[in-house]
């Protein structure tokens, strides 16, 4: 599906009002208490569309930090299970950053791998993603280094590019086209294509200068260097706090636990988890294949830039830079990727070790 439209700022307000009236939940970046996060809005004027990158990624709306998988109730030796809904009310998310929109499409790979995660896909199906091209946020952004960009449309249904008086709208998916069709009074004939193009080019230049790597080259090197001195010491700096995984739009590891409510009922839930903690891999015997922080940090790099792409095609990173901003120890993924990109691919002839 393709096509272009124009959405003026006023018509944008009307779109949000119309959607809200029709019972659709509308989310957008919202500023509160000095932070910007994706939140529920009733009026577009509550949104901080041109503001900072939301501190948390979009993943909470699709993969909540904790969510019930089912409930159980015991009666004597019998147990009855109560399912949780896997269909969800429609939601529109407006002002999504391209790095966050792309993460949804990236995660579809693992969530649909043979066994379909209905909780994920139920929300995916319910959501329409209206992305706004990003001017580039700060020097920790590197979306263009992982094959995306501040104007990438991956994972989006509509891509809005700021132009004078509103947004140039690129229709990316059938779902986006349906939204445009359902609100004909909100969208008008395309306008501002050239200025949109100028915005996009400028944003690409700005973000592109933060980090230039070849993800294929990084992947090839990682695939052949699991045991390499490069990783020694990366973990020394890491506290294993998992802040990187919490803010990451693509980290999706989870734990499954039972939460009893009294003796005879309870809820089985899944919680976000992270490969950065010591207990993540510990066996029942007490043996831990990742005994210290070095292999745990290596796993983070390997999974994102080798294992996931090898399995699902996409790099498990959209270059949002949140991990680098959030790390209390100053671990910098841009530096690490830059170093990985500069690793010699093959040992030159005549040299050993």
């Amino acid at each position: 599906m393709s096509g272009e439209r124009f959405l003026s700022t006023e018509r944008g307000e009307r779109l949000v009002a119309d959607l809200t009236l029709s019972g659709v939940r509308v989310y957008a970046p919202v500023e509160a208490q000095g932070r910007t996060e994706y939140g529920l809005i009733k009026d577009l004027r509550e949104a901080a569309l041109g503001g900072p990158l939301p501190g948390m990624s979009l993943k909470s709306l699709f993969f909540p930090p904790t969510e019930p998988l089912f409930r159980w109730r015991q009666s004597g030796s019998e147990v009855a299970l109560e399912a949780v809904p896997t269909t969800f009310e429609p939601m529109v998310i407006l002002g999504v950053r391209p790095c966050d929109a792309a993460s949804l499409a990236v995660l579809d790979g693992v969530m649909g791998w043979d066994y379909k995660d209905e909780l994920w896909f139920g929300r995916r199906q319910a959501a329409t993603i209206l992305t706004i091209a990003c001017p580039g946020f700060d020097d920790a952004c590197f979306c263009s280094a992982v094959g995306l960009g501040p104007d990438a449309s991956k994972g989006s249904d509509l891509l809005l590019v700021p132009v004078e008086g509103g947004y140039h709208v690129e229709i990316v998916s059938d779902k986006g086209a349906a939204l445009v069709k359902a609100h004909p009074a909100c969208f008008s004939d395309p306008r501002g294509r050239e200025s949109a193009e100028a915005f996009r080019q400028q944003a690409r230049r700005r973000v592109g200068s933060n980090l230039e790597i070849d993800p294929h080259r990084v992947r090839a090197w990682l695939a052949g260097h699991f045991e390499d001195r490069f990783f020694d010491g990366l973990g020394l700096r890491c506290h294993g706090c998992g802040a990187c995984a919490s803010v990451c739009p693509t980290c999706h590891c989870f734990d499954i636990v039972d939460e009893p409510e009294g003796l005879l009922a309870g809820t089985r839930r899944r919680h976000w988890d992270t490969c950065q903690t010591g207990k993540f891999t510990v066996h029942a015997s007490g043996h831990n294949p990742r005994a210290d922080q070095n292999p745990r940090f290596r796993q983070r790099v390997m999974h994102k830039f080798w294992i996931y792409p090898a399995k699902f095609g996409d790099v498990l990173c959209t270059g949002c830079g949140r991990c680098t901003r959030a790390c209390p120890a100053g671990q910098n993924l841009l530096e690490i990727l830059g170093q990985l990109d500069r690793q010699p691919q093959q040992i030159p002839e005549g040299m050993t070790s």
């Binding site: 299970l81 791998w113 999706h252 989870f254 490969c275 066996h283 999974h303």
Partner: protein
């Protein structure tokens, strides 16, 4: 049905194998599930006690025996201790079968050598019964099983049965010091006993399962006996939660043990990093 929602099963029978290891026989409550449930040797499941959580074990019974499944577990943690507190007639949850399987069909006409240590016999026992229930399709069957002490040997009643069969060569061993005065089996570590028994690698496959240290020292012995790495099979048991390739816990380098495994050949293992 939500993929994280288990089937409900009833505990039909409980058998203590050792002071801390127990086997449960489980039947599906839903007749339709019971009728349609099928699995292959080597596959695993997520067993749950409601209120305690889920735990990963192989299915220890053979796919040739339908209508129930069995699991054997050692009480070491929260869930396994909760399972131990259950009685016959109680309800548990089961999700599965998950993962790949031993290519038993490909072994028809071949000799099969089973080597197991300690609590690692349950996954091998599944394959042993699979092969023995189709006995005529295979050549010589050799079982070498060891544990630290006589007490730690699991499935003692079945060891007796296998030992008495003319079409099975069974060798049991315990670590030095683990024998009782009336112990009639071998005394020595599993790799040493494998070397002593010296099963032929001619037209043979080997299934090896045990603690990492046993596998580490058994593989060179099998190599000396002429078993090529692609005819040696093992099953890995990394920590898992979802069992279906989502939760990100069981990676070993590029593989997800729950989806690409748990069964691997020694040839495949040699390409993986030592993260198991």
């Amino acid at each position: 049905m939500n993929v994280y929602e288990p089937y409900l099963v009833t505990i039909d029978d409980i058998r203590d194998e050792t002071p801390d290891t127990r086997t449960l026989k489980l039947r599906f409550k839903d007749d339709r599930v019971a009728d349609s449930f099928a699995f292959r040797a080597g596959q695993f499941g997520e067993y749950s006690v409601f209120g305690a959580g889920e735990c990963t074990f192989c299915i220890a019974s053979s796919p040739t025996r339908t209508g129930y499944i069995e699991c054997s577990f050692k009480a070491v943690g929260k869930v396994t201790n909760a399972i131990r507190d259950l009685n016959v007639g109680d309800t548990m949850g089961f999700r599965g079968p998950y993962g790949n399987h031993f290519p038993v069909d490909d072994w028809e006409g071949k000799r099969v050598v089973f080597i197991a240590g300690g609590i690692a016999l349950p996954p091998v026992r599944c394959v042993i019964w699979n092969v023995l229930d189709l006995r005529s399709k295979f050549a010589d069957v050799t079982i070498i099983y060891g544990a630290r002490t006589v007490t730690d040997l699991v499935y003692k009643h079945e060891l007796a049965e296998w030992g008495s069969r003319p079409d099975v060569t069974l060798v049991t061993t315990v670590d030095p010091g683990g024998q009782t005065p009336d112990w009639k089996g071998e005394i020595g570590f599993v790799p040493t006993i494998v070397e002593k028994v010296g099963p032929t690698s001619d037209d043979a496959v080997a299934v090896v399962c045990g603690p990492p240290i046993m596998i580490k020292y058994t593989l060179p012995v099998l190599d000396r006996l002429g078993f090529p790495p692609d005819r040696i099979y093992t099953t890995l048991e990394n920590r898992m939660k979802c069992g279906i390739g989502k939760c990100g816990r069981c990676n070993i380098g590029p593989v997800y043990v729950c989806k690409d495994g748990p069964v691997f050949t020694a040839a495949e293992l040699s390409t993986l990093p030592q993260e198991y």
